[in-house]
């Protein structure tokens, strides 16, 4: 079988779809161009993250076709297309809505014949898209999705995720935040009322509860809420010591800046479990002293970070956010897996991704687990800077308090945490 696989790779290289593998999903590719689909929120509460992701996807395609960035760094990549094919792409707007995301992805799969599609924020859109991926046997590279369910109860064989999850955020945050603010405190949670917010809420309760804190109350807020003032008043009235704002994107910018404007930070400590740069930029000086986690920082001093961040700045004139890095990295991981497999045949590409270990993505050592398709990797615990200390041109809005490392500080076994609920589906070639 390995011999056949190798032969098929040779035959496939250079285009034409002359393959020993059977047709599956959108394989074989017709012509000499492989099309990727980038399905991101261009409207809705997570549109800023989506816009940054799209920039990074376009940069990734440019590097894959013409060299530059990680295409020059990763030995699997040639910088002259992927496995003999030039890379083209189509884009879609998920509108930060699961149904719209699924429809848009479906168009990419059926009309545009994409061999891989990628994107997501939110987690609801990512989960909807990876269900479609499994059904259509087209690989989906999850981008910004932090819900435990993505690689937990809703995991699929055809979706993989480099992004960490709410469970790991809880693991990383609890020791640092409880050490900073003290023992035995009471906390209150406001959370976005969908899969992501719900799993963050559960994980915060689990890990801060285990650290000796107790929850006073936990209140859902609809995704896309503009005005959090009433919810914030309720939090202050509760008398709790700490407020977790489990909101993201525009919602996160609004809730944290309204909290500070309303004086909530004078009554209680605020924690924003999941941060990113566009959100911090929207909230400005309101994030001063506020703890949170993020996946990556453009100011990290390592070669992959510098290569990507510098290329991004040169191309777009702005510093990339962590969602942008995820988008870029996901595309590169897929392309490298295709090169190693010697084919775009989805089951072979997935097998190359499963268990893959790498240390040249700017975050140290990472492994994409075969059991649940979740990357085990480091997480940054960060703390917001004051408006005066922030430097928007350098994308510097916080200090990195700690790079919580896997496996010492974050991570879990295949039979525990969210992974315990994961049953990956079929490869499609069984």
């Amino acid at each position: 079988m390995a011999g056949i696989a190798g032969l098929s790779g040779c035959l496939e290289g250079g285009g034409g779809g002359d393959s020993e593998y059977p047709a599956l999903g959108n394989y074989p590719i017709e012509g000499d161009t492989a099309t990727l689909g980038f399905n991101v929120p261009q409207t809705g509460p997570y549109q800023e993250e989506g816009a940054d992701e799209l920039r990074a996807y376009e940069l990734a395609v440019e590097h894959l076709n013409n060299g530059g960035g990680w295409a020059d760094l990763w030995s699997d990549l040639s910088g002259d297309g992927v496995n003999g094919y030039q890379i083209d792409y189509v884009t879609g707007d998920t509108a930060t809505d699961a149904d719209t995301a699924r429809e848009s992805a479906s168009r990419m799969v059926e009309r545009d014949g994409v061999i891989m599609f990628a994107g997501g924020s939110s987690s609801a859109t990512a989960i909807a898209q990876q269900e479609l991926a499994q059904q259509e046997k087209v690989v989906y590279m999850c981008c910004l999705t932090h819900s435990n369910d993505t690689t937990g109860g809703d995991c699929v064989r055809y979706g993989v995720r480099e992004m960490f999850n709410a469970y790991m955020t809880g693991q990383a945050l609890a020791p640092i935040v409880t050490a900073e603010y003290g023992d035995g405190l009471e906390f209150y949670q406001l959370y976005a009322d969908y899969t992501w917010g719900q799993t963050v809420e559960t994980s915060i309760r689990e890990f801060f509860g285990a650290a000796g804190w107790s929850e006073v109350d936990s209140v859902p807020t609809p995704l896309g809420t503009d005005d959090y003032s009433t919810f914030l008043s309720g939090a202050v009235d509760s008398g709790a010591d700490v407020l977790f704002l489990n909101h993201y994107g525009l919602d996160g910018s609004n809730s944290v800046s309204q909290a500070v404007d309303q004086g909530v930070n004078e009554e209680m400590e605020i924690v924003v479990p999941l941060y990113n740069v566009p959100m911090a930029a929207g909230a400005g000086g309101s994030i001063e002293g506020v703890f949170g986690t993020d996946g990556w920082d453009a100011n990290l001093e390592n070669e992959p970070t510098r290569l990507f961040a510098d290329a991004f700045v040169e191309r777009y004139g702005t510093v990339p956010s962590s969602p942008a890095r995820l988008a870029y990295s996901g595309t590169m991981l897929y392309a490298a897996a295709v090169e190693r497999a010697g084919t775009f045949y989805p089951p072979e590409v997935i097998r190359e991704l499963e268990g893959y270990e790498w240390d040249n993505g700017g975050l140290g050592e990472e492994v994409l687990r075969a059991c649940d398709h979740q990357a085990m990797r480091d997480i940054l615990v960060v703390r917001g800077l004051s408006a005066a200390e922030q430097d928007p041109t350098a994308g510097r809005y916080w200090e990195v308090v700690e790079q919580a490392s896997y496996p010492d500080q974050v991570g879990y076994g295949c039979d525990s945490g969210p992974a315990a609920a994961c049953e990956l589906g079929a490869y499609g070639d069984e």
Binding site: P222, T225, S229, T230, V236, N254, Q262, V264, G282
Partner: protein, 316 residues
């Protein structure tokens, strides 16, 4: 009054302030919508475009606005703005929006006065989308916020009533002043008289030899000025992105439906009711908060098709 009574009273007043804070923006936007619908029988969804333009022009007056959208970068606009600060924007934008309203009446509304509601909705919603996308192309989708003067930042404690953002209280005061001024204008000036008469029966007013075109034009501009003002005062509270126009349109339109077309008092009462339902549900049943305002509008339409203070039914 016992301790429990004081506490209940404090909760009630706190709820009222919260409701006023939420309702203020809706009311400011709804007044223009309601007046245009009442006087000119014109369904003007592009009203939200004035709100949107008010915010972004206000940002350009107040700050150096980065033109980082695809079009903005393409033509190399860089950062453009007067940098005059927030108060300058607050003073200038209602006047600019008044002018935008006059232009909109002349070039968008007037050609469609005699067309069916559906045509009016399509064209005005289209204008809103065009304005939104042009702004996105020029400035980009990244959220922005107004920097306020120090006195307008932070919170103020009102004892047992709770702690409120200073600027939210300022919005309530600004809204109250603007509503009173417009109310006096409509009730006690010749223009207002013509508008009120024209709202009741435009044909009869014309037959009596009063030209209602000019008063209607003025009142269109006044409504637009309020929408622009709403844009600037809400800018520091909510992150500014190109979709905020569409975001405010739906609740403002529901305020008109509940309060009744063509009635300023109706817009105020409708806004307060919508605000109260939203705040009440956020306190008691948060998952229903976004649905509750639609339920309120549905109930009001069933019981009073013209709205609570409506002069005419929308499709009359």
């Amino acid at each position: 009054m016992g301790v429990a009574g004081v506490s209940l009273l404090a909760t009630g007043i706190g709820f009222l302030i919260q409701t006023l804070a939420v309702a203020s923006i809706y009311i400011l936007v709804a007044i223009g919508l309601s007046i245009t619908l009442g006087t000119l029988k014109f369904v003007n969804f592009a009203h939200a475009a004035v709100y949107l333009a008010g915010i972004y022009i206000g940002l350009a007056v107040a700050l150096e606005l980065p033109f980082s959208g695809d079009i903005g970068r393409g033509i190399g606009l860089g950062e453009v703005g007067l940098g005059l600060g927030f108060l300058a924007a607050l003073a200038v934008i209602p006047i600019i929006s008044f002018g935008l309203g006059l232009l909109m009446e002349r070039f968008i509304a007037r050609p469609f006065y005699d067309r069916p509601d559906t045509d009016q909705i399509l064209v005005t919603f289209g204008v809103l989308l065009i304005v939104q996308e042009v702004i996105r192309g020029l400035v980009g989708g990244r959220s922005m916020t107004f920097t306020r003067p120090e006195w307008a930042q932070g919170a103020i404690g009102l004892g047992p009533l709770g702690t409120f953002a200073r600027w939210r209280l300022a919005i309530i005061a600004i809204t109250a002043v603007l509503v009173v001024v417009v109310y006096l204008y409509i009730e006690y000036t010749d223009v207002g008289l013509a508008v009120r008469a024209g709202t009741e029966d435009a044909e009869m007013v014309n037959l009596l030899g009063v030209r209602v075109t000019r008063p209607f034009l003025l009142i269109f501009g006044v409504g637009s000025g309020l929408a622009g003002a709403a844009g600037v005062v809400s800018g520091p509270v909510f992150s500014v992105v190109p979709e905020v126009g569409i975001g405010v349109l739906v609740p403002a339109f529901l305020v008109v439906v509940v309060g009744g077309v063509g009635s300023l008092v109706g817009s105020v009462v409708g806004g307060l009711l919508i605000g109260a339902v939203e705040v009440g549900l956020q306190m008691g049943a948060p998952t229903w908060a976004s649905v509750g305002i639609y339920a309120l509008a549905a109930v009001v339409i069933m019981l009073r098709p013209a709205g609570l203070f409506g002069v005419v039914e929308v499709d009359e």
